[in-house]
Amino acid sequence: MFLTFLTFLPLIGALALAFIPKEEEGAIKQTALAVAVADFLLSLQLYADFDTSTAEMQFTMDVPWITDWGISYHVGIDGISLLLYIMTTMLTAISILASFGIKKHVKEYMMAMLALSTGMLGVFISLDFFLFYVFWEFQLVPMYLIIGVWGGPRRIYAAVKFFIYTAVGSLLMLVAIIWIYFHFHETVGVFTTDIMLITQQINLDMIEQKWLFCAFFLAFAIKVPMFPFHTWLPDAHVEAPTAGSVILAGVLLKMGTYGFLRFNLPLFPLASVEFLPYVCGLAVIGIIYGALVAMMQEDLKKLVAYSSVSHLGFVMLGIFAFNHYGLQGALLQNINHGITSGALFLLVGMIYDRRHTRLIADFGGLAKVIPVFTVCFMIMTLSSVGLPGTNGFIGEFLVLLGMFQNEMSYAIVATSGVILAACYMLWMFQRVMFLEITNPENEKLTDMTPRELCTMVPLILFVFWIGFYPKPFTKTFDASIEHLITQVQPEDAHGSQDHHASTETTIKMAQATAVQNGTH
């Protein structure tokens, strides 16, 4: 019940906003912020009450909804979704605070943001296919409006592209869901859309799994976005208002990776293993390609957007490592990317508000004028680069370590993305922050306001917290990951079988490998 309350609190807030006259902009902003912050603080209670020792769903609520079709309102949280949930509430609060400067249709904007929050939270807690799909589509609408109404000059194009792209993917998913629904009835004899039940009992052969995997894959791969389906992302990011970009990067992309963890792996284990080379191949391409393309960007937001493509490639790689390290890294990298990219978009938004340009060439020498901003930007840049001691490193390290245990070649190629990340981020940082001030307009810039600082401080704290002491975060994953691995059970696992094995076994296997590779 608490979970339901938390999830719908923003929506209730949005409805409450409807009753505030639209001239009272201050009241609207404060109410929206209060709702979002309250939601965030209350959601911390979930973390406090969360039992990390079990992979079971927690805080569940199961109420029959459309009984004739076996649909119920079934929600719950496990280790995979807990942190995503809390991060969503946090980023909502931050992005509402960050969008106090919005000029037109303040009321509608705040309502959209809060409604969006409910949609996103719903996706992470739904344990019913129907409910999941409802939320999945529901959150599209406010996001579409946020981009399309409050966006930049090409907002309509970007919004429509975003919407159609996502909708096309999710429609295929819907077809797959319906197929599963009837298939489950044929084989088990029950009409149900309960995800947990279906995951436990469904019985699919290889061909069926492959097709269904592809349908789900397309929906989630577009959302992630994986390599050939990524082109909506730069457009959407560039046109979206700052808060929109933050939410988009911070949460919406995570819904794709979350989908892989919740559906593709447990439902279609055989197909997952079968498709591993392709998915990993795309992920690796995404990592390198995103980084290379990011390097050439002239627009700051586009650069961060392409870096997202690269970072999400790491997440996908971790998921398809099928072992504890990789999955843990992927989940952590999810959170990390939400924090880091979210912060980078916020920062870009701040200078955009001041200068009304995002072109790297228009800046230069900002370090001297706005030192506090520079420090924040620097920290986030380094986190994005994956410097040890920041959050980015832990995730990337675990992902690559996991992949290395499973398929060495992908890991080796992907690791080179680390070099490229340094290239594009630092080069950008240099061109924006360092060198001499060439544009006189930059000399008059004002440093961060207290409000803007408020949006950044929590994110910076998380950067170092996760970087130096990630245990409070990773421990929530453990049980769920173990459970997930038993569900997948890769049959051709090379290095991943030994995730239960003791160190000695590992060493023995390693010896065997060594002998195979021995030159003598």
């Binding site: 082109t231 290379l292 040890p388 890991a411 680390v418 060198l435 060493i507 010896q511 002998v515």
Partner: protein
């Protein structure tokens, strides 16, 4: 209470200093910034001394203490502690880092005093010390890696300290990116180690290495090779050395601390730390020795042609680190560490001395515009000269002992080629270092008449004197000939001990289990038959001192006796041009790697992404739009057209239904 529990204080002090200066530096004023900044390293040094003395009383044969602060990363069976290791090897490095670090901090007070963002400099510098201490103290590869990357990023900031200069920024980015190439390999090495050993804790890995890896096996070779590539990035060896000369854009004390004494030697430290792995991979060892020797010689030749005082020293650093790797490559780890320590002393002194000159000359770095400065800079001159003699390897200065130990081992444990590279490098080193001294301090003055050179304040000269003293006397750490006297060797013995016989036997067994019957008896025999030959060592010493003196004499001949000769000889010589332009390596990298990547990325973005991938997407949309355009022409807005279409549809349905009937 064990003193080891104090270990965490060593990196903590600089970190606190960095945080205070970084956040409040502008408010508390320059004097307090200096106090805060210097207090950190000095206190760390004090704690390190306590740890050092407590280790003197460490009972023999027991494992050295480790301090684990907390579990850092835990995923499945991977558990990585955030822990420190206090053993002889890390203590040596900690002494160097905190000791030399403290001295350079004090020196910086004088050198940087006029800078506006003084606090920023010290915040970075303290942060660097913190990272460097993590690097040397970490008890597993990943803590080391934090430090490893941390020093890289601090180096990036400090090189780019004068961030309004484009060259400085470019140099910073270059340093970081090139370092990252090395880090990439280092990471792969860590992954490989984890795959093989299931842990990345130093003690566990090194204990397990002889019985887990196969001698000269592919796994051992690949892992060590990856680690070594990591080391070449950090320690500026061929092929990743190009960033170091550019890094001279940073303030001079930074060059002294980071790019001479500590950070660049991290690669050597890492190889020594992982010596057990490297001992299992003779192929890698050979590559290390060749790369090290090659770099020593190669960089030295470039050093002869440079005109920027700091660049000469930079190439000299590259060259000297090459010696250290040469020592590692032949298995003489003690010699490598010994040279690392003495090099930290004399090279830091040289850099600080050059900084003193640059400071007194109002940031003039070209030695062609110097000359005859010894009267203006009496203290700087003496200390500079002492260090130069030390680097040239003249008895009884510290460089003599360490370099000769390397050369001896290169011949005894390696072969004549290694020794040849080393000895010719030594000759060139003596030559170009004295060339530097002669051009800067002797001869006629070419100083710009508007510049009035002046000796530096005491806060700068005192560190010079201390370092010069250390450069002079550092050799007592490793007096050769009689083994009992070699303090460093005895000190490091427990860490570097390696039982080759057991390792080879284990490898034979492992191979035999899989049907490969190989005997390593020959290898073992060869290793055991190496004996210490005092007379050969003495002969080599005399010879190398002679070589060094010859180098000095050559320099004297060219730059004091006949100063017009070098210009005449080198004019129009394509060989000289080649060397003066650093063998065009930078240009080569630029053309073969940087430009293709940049151009390729541009192509990738503008063609593949915008036109290709997005083109397909937009193309689909375009086709749909085409159809809907056609369909929307029905939507004329005229009611009667709608009615007509409706009726046509009705008729169509009727006909269809009739056909079915």
């Amino acid at each position: 209470m064990s003193f080891v529990s104090l270990a965490f204080l060593v990196p903590l002090f600089p970190l606190i200093g960095s945080i205070i200066n970084g956040f409040f530096g502008l408010k508390i004023g320059k004097d307090r910034v200096s106090w805060v900044a210097c207090a950190g390293p000095v206190m760390s040094f004090a704690v390190t001394l306590i740890l050092l003395f407590s280790t003197f009383f460490h009972p023999e044969g027991t494992p050295y203490p480790e301090q684990s602060l907390f579990t850092w990363i835990a995923a499945g069976d991977l558990v990585i502690d955030f822990g420190f290791q206090i053993d002889p090897l890390s203590l040596v490095m900690m002494m160097v880092v905190t000791g030399v670090g403290s001295i350079i901090h004090i020196y910086s007070i004088g050198y940087m005093y006029e800078e506006y963002s003084y606090y920023r400099y010290f915040a970075y510098l303290n942060l660097f010390l913190f990272s460097m201490l993590l690097l040397v103290m970490g008890n597993n590869l990943l803590v080391m890696f934090i430090g490893w990357e941390g020093v890289g990023v601090c180096s990036y900031f400090l090189i780019g300290y004068y961030f309004e200069k484009k060259s400085a920024c470019d140099a910073g980015v270059k340093a970081f990116v090139v370092n990252r190439v090395g880090d990439f390999a280092f990471l792969l090495g860590i992954f490989g180690i984890f795959k093989m050993f299931g842990t990345i804790d130093f003690t566990e890995v090194m204990t397990a290495a002889p019985t887990t890896l196969i001698y000269d096996g592919e796994a051992a070779t690949l892992i060590t090779l990856a680690l070594f590539i990591g080391a070449t990035g950090k320690s500026a060896q061929i092929p990743l050395y190009t960033w170091l000369p550019d890094a001279m854009e940073g303030p001079t004390p930074v060059s002294a601390l980071i790019h001479a004494a500590t950070m660049v030697t991290a690669g050597v430290y890492m190889v020594v730390r992982c010596s057990a792995l490297f001992n299992m991979a003779p192929l890698t060892m050979m590559i290390i020795a060749l790369v090290g020797g090659g770099t020593a010689l190669f960089a030295a030749t470039i050093g002869c042609t440079q005109w920027d005082i700091k660049r000469v020293l930079a190439y000299s650093t590259v060259s000297q680190i090459g010696y250290m790797f040469l020592a590692c490559g032949v298995g003489a780890y003690t010699a490598a560490i010994f040279h690392l320590v003495t090099h930290a002393f004399f090279k830091a002194c040289l850099f600080l001395g050059s900084g003193s000159v640059i400071h007194g000359m109002h940031h003039e770095q070209d030695i062609r515009k110097m000359g005859g400065l010894k009267d203006h800079f009496p203290i700087t001159y003496v200390t500079f000269l002492v260090s130069t003699i030390a680097i040239a390897g003249i008895f009884p200065f510290s460089g003599f002992f360490s370099k000769d130990e390397i050369l001896y081992h290169a011949l005894m444990d390696g072969n004549v080629i290694y020794w040849g590279m080393g000895i010719s490098g030594a000759f060139i080193t003596a030559f170009y270092m004295f060339r530097l001294v002669f051009l800067t301090f002797h001869g006629p003055s070419h100083v710009d008449p508007h510049v009035h050179p002046h000796e530096s304040p005491k806060v700068m000269t005192l560190p010079l004197i201390i370092l010069a003293f250390l450069a002079l006397t550092g050799g007592i750490l490793g007096i050769p000939l009689i083994h009992g006297w070699h303090v460093l060797h005895n000190w490091l013995e427990p860490v570097l001990a390696f039982d080759l016989e057991t390792a080879l036997h284990a490898s034979e067994v492992m191979l035999a289990e899989h049907g490969h019957h190989t005997s390593f008896a020959e290898v073992l025999h060869e290793a055991q038959n190496k004996s210490h030959n005092i007379w050969l060592e003495i002969t080599l010493m005399i010879f190398s001192v002679g070589v060094a003196l010859a180098g000095i004499a050559t320099a004297w001949f060219f730059y004091i006796k006949k100063p017009e000769l070098p210009g005449k000889l080198t004019k129009g010589q394509w060989g000289f041009d080649l060397v003066e332009n650093k063998y065009y390596v930078d240009e080569f990298y630029d053309e073969t790697i940087v430009k293709p990547v940049v151009k390729g990325s541009d192509l990738l973005w503008r063609q593949a992404d915008a036109r290709g991938v997005d083109g397909v997407v937009n193309g689909v949309a375009w086709v749909i739009k085409l159809f809907s355009r056609a369909a929307s022409s029905f939507q004329s807005g005229f009611v009667r057209n709608y009615a007509l279409i409706m009726v046509m549809g009705f008729i169509f349905l009727m006909i269809v239904s009739q056909i079915e009937i």
